[in-house]
Symmetry: C2
Subunit: 489 residues, 2 copies
Amino acid sequence: MTERSNPIMSCNHHLLLKIFLSLLGAALAICFIQLGALDFMKTLIESGYSGTSHHAIFVKPKLGPILSTNRSSCFSNGIFTRPSISEKLLKDIMKRRAEEYRQHQLRMGANLNRLIIAPANSPLQYPITGFTVSPMQKSLIPGLALQAQKGEAYKVSLSVNKGVLSVEDLLDGDQVEGQGRSNLTISSSNLTQLNDLLSRVTYTSTIYHIKTSDLFHFTFEDHEVMFPITIRRQTIPVLYDPGNDVNSQVTIVTKTFLRYEELNVLIKSIRMFYPRIKIIIADDSLKPEPITEKNIEHYIMPPTQGWFAGRNLAISQVTTKYFLWVDDDFVFLNGTRIESFVEIMEAVPELDILGGAVSGNQFYFKLKYEEGDEEEGGCLTRVKKEFHQPLPNFEDCILVDGVVNYFLGRTDAVRRVGFDPFLKRVGHSEFFMDGLGQLLVASCKGLSIGHQKHRPHGKYAYFRTQKKADGKRKVYHHFFKNYLKYLQF
Amino acid sequence: MTERSNPIMSCNHHLLLKIFLSLLGAALAICFIQLGALDFMKTLIESGYSGTSHHAIFVKPKLGPILSTNRSSCFSNGIFTRPSISEKLLKDIMKRRAEEYRQHQLRMGANLNRLIIAPANSPLQYPITGFTVSPMQKSLIPGLALQAQKGEAYKVSLSVNKGVLSVEDLLDGDQVEGQGRSNLTISSSNLTQLNDLLSRVTYTSTIYHIKTSDLFHFTFEDHEVMFPITIRRQTIPVLYDPGNDVNSQVTIVTKTFLRYEELNVLIKSIRMFYPRIKIIIADDSLKPEPITEKNIEHYIMPPTQGWFAGRNLAISQVTTKYFLWVDDDFVFLNGTRIESFVEIMEAVPELDILGGAVSGNQFYFKLKYEEGDEEEGGCLTRVKKEFHQPLPNFEDCILVDGVVNYFLGRTDAVRRVGFDPFLKRVGHSEFFMDGLGQLLVASCKGLSIGHQKHRPHGKYAYFRTQKKADGKRKVYHHFFKNYLKYLQF
């Protein structure tokens, strides 16, 4: 590395000439700029500029645990989620909600992603991004170098907060102070030797954490640069063996309540096309009837436990890479081909959910979300029939935020989001809300399944319909859980 | 911004003098270094240097979808996981496994974290890290500036790959080429005007993705710098209302099989101390017996569905922020205080799992994992009674990788990892393997629960004991799922 960064190796006379002609200017510029840039950089760093807003240059810090105070409130014509209760009760709830939100921001690492600006004309060379280490393990820091004008002596200072620094293979006479501590000073009268020492500097985090970061400070004379060190514990791969056919790739999952007649029609239709595929059924009927066919797993829940609880139970039992969600009153048709879903998912491994159409209805939507003010919370609006853009290479598919109740899901990705068991009667988009920014969702034409004709079930309708009290509870749930001020469906 | 970076505002005569004395040297240095550094930076970028190894300077690229070929194989005295089957069968399996691993790396964003080195003495100022945008939304790029020596004219080029660039509020006469395209050229005879234009440059991604990144190229004359743009779809908070007491914060979850006698002892002991806390029971007994007490949810699984399937079912039904895992043959003692777990978790929001001790046995371990060679896979060793370091501010607690079967878990975090339903009979550390790097785990002295005296159950023992075939299947499972070559418990 010292070889490569040795100035003598690559000079360009054209440029050299140009610079001679403006020596004075150059000299002035260098000194002016160093200081100007340093101030500027510091300001931006102190301001913790988030970089996502138009007028953010002087935004206040967004350090996870501390709620920043610069976000503006949002509005929509949707439901105002704040409960209408006594001021005292509300105050307690708001306090609890704010604390949970603070913990959430901290856990999301909101404090690990601050903006850093590289100053112009700094003689320091360093890794600006991508330097990742394992906690409490020594790692060589790549790319550190000083490339200053000739002088009698050179002295650089290095410092970190959550670890220690040292120079590998130190020899007698090397001028290194602070070996094995968090502040290191390296001096030499020879630039090549200094860079050789810099090329052997290592970092070892002294705190154990699976996901955090440190900030490296590197200074020479009046020049200072900073760069982040990502501290990340390695993960172990978790893969699914897809085997050789659809039966080892996909499990069909559904949730039922009282509608055994419909369920049996569905099962029969599945068996016509997929005689051996595994079917998982979550059942919270009042008087569960046994289902003991081959390759069917029947799970019995406490009566009326609810819709999302059942969906979450069902996916918790899947052992294949993908699962196909169907409602208990759907019916497989000649055109229903699970393989088509799998082909697209395999071609686009980043996809998490792929939705089809139920008796020709390709339902999909986009979610518009504003973070809103820190105390009030955000605003969420569901916009039907809108999509982000076509899915590259698949002209019949579009990228969206939510799809119909007939989709192929990536088991591990969907489990990470999950179906909130709180939602008992009514729930669909709520899953896609929880998955926003975590699930890449697409919807395709021509992936179709049928819907059985409606059969009257007095009892079913009674339980299925959401009571007024349930509705209120649900709104409060979104107020607290999703930190929402307005919700528009 | 142009104000702050205006050279005239902050000159330092001491430094100015120093630089005059070494004008020639400076001039030479500048030109040498610009080119040297540029070459060096390019080399490192092309080499996609990972920054985590000691001799990584010339490492080949690690672009997610392409398996890099520089990792060295690992060894341990543990079980060699590769199945001893016909070459042909093995070849098919290895091919499947490699493909799943490729997809895994791609999904983990292995291609989004490449190392970039900032060259020394570049006149360009730019955000090195922390610049994050929402997909397909226009964002102002912070900190762009040129700070060059005086000249007749200045011209900078900007380019990106996954989006378009433009200058806001463009006026007639502004020399901007490529407005709204992925390559932008800005020229001016006035440095302040150029920097004013640079301060208004916006980026808009043209591809929709929830989690990806772009690379920004910024050049002036022979100088080139690059920085990453993080493209991230916003997520909606998912919070749990902790309410005001332990009953609204914690659910007790367990899995039972045939041992109703033990289960009833456990339940009675819980009710002595926590009369109202919710208990969730997953039951895969051969002849399930009804359990219909208040605040108990009893889930009936297909017979002998298995240990981890039951655990995964149980946590899928939790609606509180935390759950307490207990085995069906534990017993609550006078000293068993769930509140103590909660206090520590609330004080350290980044903790995901907090383990206690079962009849005085505070079981915990560390996992040593080597990624190993790309084709062969990794090596994993479990080391009992080792920990990373004490949990700051809690002298009786240590940070570890795995704990005993008695722990408080953060519901959302544990669900993200989950209990692999494949593991039917034997399984404990497997959950912590899957959670490595994803769950921050601690173990504390003094958080104790009792273990009931062992009662003989012929049938239970028969099912509980792992058959030879099961053992083989399990080893193969780790071979494929965890991409392991050696596994040592």
